[in-house]
Symmetry: C2
Subunit: 293 residues, 2 copies
């Protein structure tokens, strides 16, 4: 396996769900108007808690410009540089204070560091073992009922799904007039991930949400498999804690189960093939018993 | 000729150019997500001074919702109901105070009433004559060099031009890196009008701007003629002054010159066929001399 270290310096930001509308202008620019921005790394992931935005320095400047023009000054932490998705997080300079949540006046915050730094088992060294360090915190896992698609799209055809994508990203939190049949039930999770990194688009969405998009533009793997999610973290994970990815990825690799991993500001998410979800949960629960004992 | 009085109660609002980004979220909803809004009358016109927004009560509620969620409270006048484009304006209850302009903190304002009410020659009674009332104010006219297209579009194909339309409407004020050849010169005017009224779309844009759009989706009249603009008003027109439309439309009708008329918050705009612009200016200057004497 060859690893490429991308040169982008990426920031990880949390946007409150209730404050996303305020970022519509810079986000739409980053999403759909590549000629207006020099951003090469853009990722926006919706979770029940917040939107996690990852942008490189160029994209952050666009974002910041929008922020600074706002009527009310908003605390944009000047520091707190994150790393690439999947790599371990660094501790933001602003090491206290809750983030995310429903702060109408301050929708932007860096992932709060909830724990003291531990010995690092860098995600890049994954197969080092199941035990990422001495006395690691074993994080509880949840497995919502949704079935997810992992999709891509030719960037040239992105304009063709623009209005649908805008609808799903910026207006889905509006309560629909009436719940459509097949809408995710209460045991499902709100989750939507879009990334545009060096011209490559990745989208993870609920299979129900996919029905809103034109069927001929979104591409998936030839098997067309659906994925289930394992969500890691009972309470928000800290940026300073190491080994979180390893304690999930290790057991899955050992059991020969493929995984698609997405970190967000508060929690981590491993997508696994639908057929394997039962054995995944079994494997991870065994890990929990093993590490927790 | 049959006249239909639409039932919409329409508000006329001025959005400062520097504040438009703050309205991106509600405006995109009104423009592109008809299923999310009950708005049936929407019109947004960009001029060098501001953006004029006309929406019915349903659309205004959407707009207001966005406004109220803003970090800083913004003065949204609760009164000041306008009438349909082309009809005479009513005096807003807020009868003093400047509007538009560059107020960063208050980008929304109703057209300020600049003059005392005069005897009304309602625009609906146009052929009543060239003299709309005793001692009418003769407003100076300008004729910028741009050539304009008057276009329409099947609402079903609106999503296909969404990103271009968003780019032109919400991001065109960003200074381009370098001026493209054929860019409007200093004697040209920034003007773009989009309306979506009961499912019918009308767009007026500069012929240069049209080149940014896919050529096969925008429809125009079979003659494909281009239009020139006559802009009425040396200083902002008042909502309470009557007969402004008539003093332009009358002479043009008498000279058998067709006109496409667009009122905005501050000024009025008559588009006339390119071939006729010289005689139009002559006709209107004669009017000026006649009325002014």
């Amino acid at each position: 396996m060859e690893l490429h270290i991308l040169e982008h310096r990426v920031r990880v930001l949390s946007l409150a769900r209730s404050g996303l509308w305020l970022y519509t202008h810079p986000l739409i620019k980053l999403l759909f108007l590549p000629r207006r921005s020099r951003c090469k790394f853009f990722s926006l992931t919706e979770t029940p808690e917040d939107y996690t935005l990852m942008v490189d320095e160029e994209g952050f400047k666009d974002e910041e410009t929008g922020t600074q023009r706002r009527a009310a000054p908003v605390g944009v932490p000047a520091s707190g540089r994150g790393h690439l998705a999947g790599a371990e997080r660094v501790v933001p300079q602003r090491s206290s204070g809750a983030s995310g949540g429903g702060h109408e006046d301050c929708p932007l915050g860096h992932r709060a560091a909830g724990r003291a730094p531990r010995v690092c088992a860098d995600a890049v060294h994954l197969p080092d073992g199941l035990h990422p360090g001495p006395n690691p915190t074993v994080h509880p896992i949840q497995s919502p009922q949704n079935r997810f698609c992992v999709l891509t799209l030719d960037p040239e055809t992105l304009p063709a799904i623009a209005t649908t994508l805008i609808d799903v990203l910026f207006y889905s939190h509006s309560a629909p007039k009436e719940a459509a049949p097949g809408e995710p039930g209460p045991s499902s999770i709100t989750f939507f991930a879009f990334s545009l990194i060096e011209g490559y688009i990745s989208i993870v969405m609920d299979a129900e949400t996919q029905k809103k998009f034109p069927s001929d533009l979104l591409l998936t793997s030839s098997s067309g498999e659906l994925w289930r999610m394992v969500r890691i973290g009972g309470q928000p994970l800290g940026f300073d804690e190491c080994g979180i990815v390893a304690q999930i990825a290790g057991p899955l690799a050992a059991a020969d189960i493929s995984a698609y991993y997405i970190s967000t500001f508060n929690f981590d998410h491993a997508l696994v093939p639908e057929d394997g979800i039962d054995s995944v949960i079994e494997v991870l629960q065994r890990r929990q018993e093993g590490l927790g004992s």
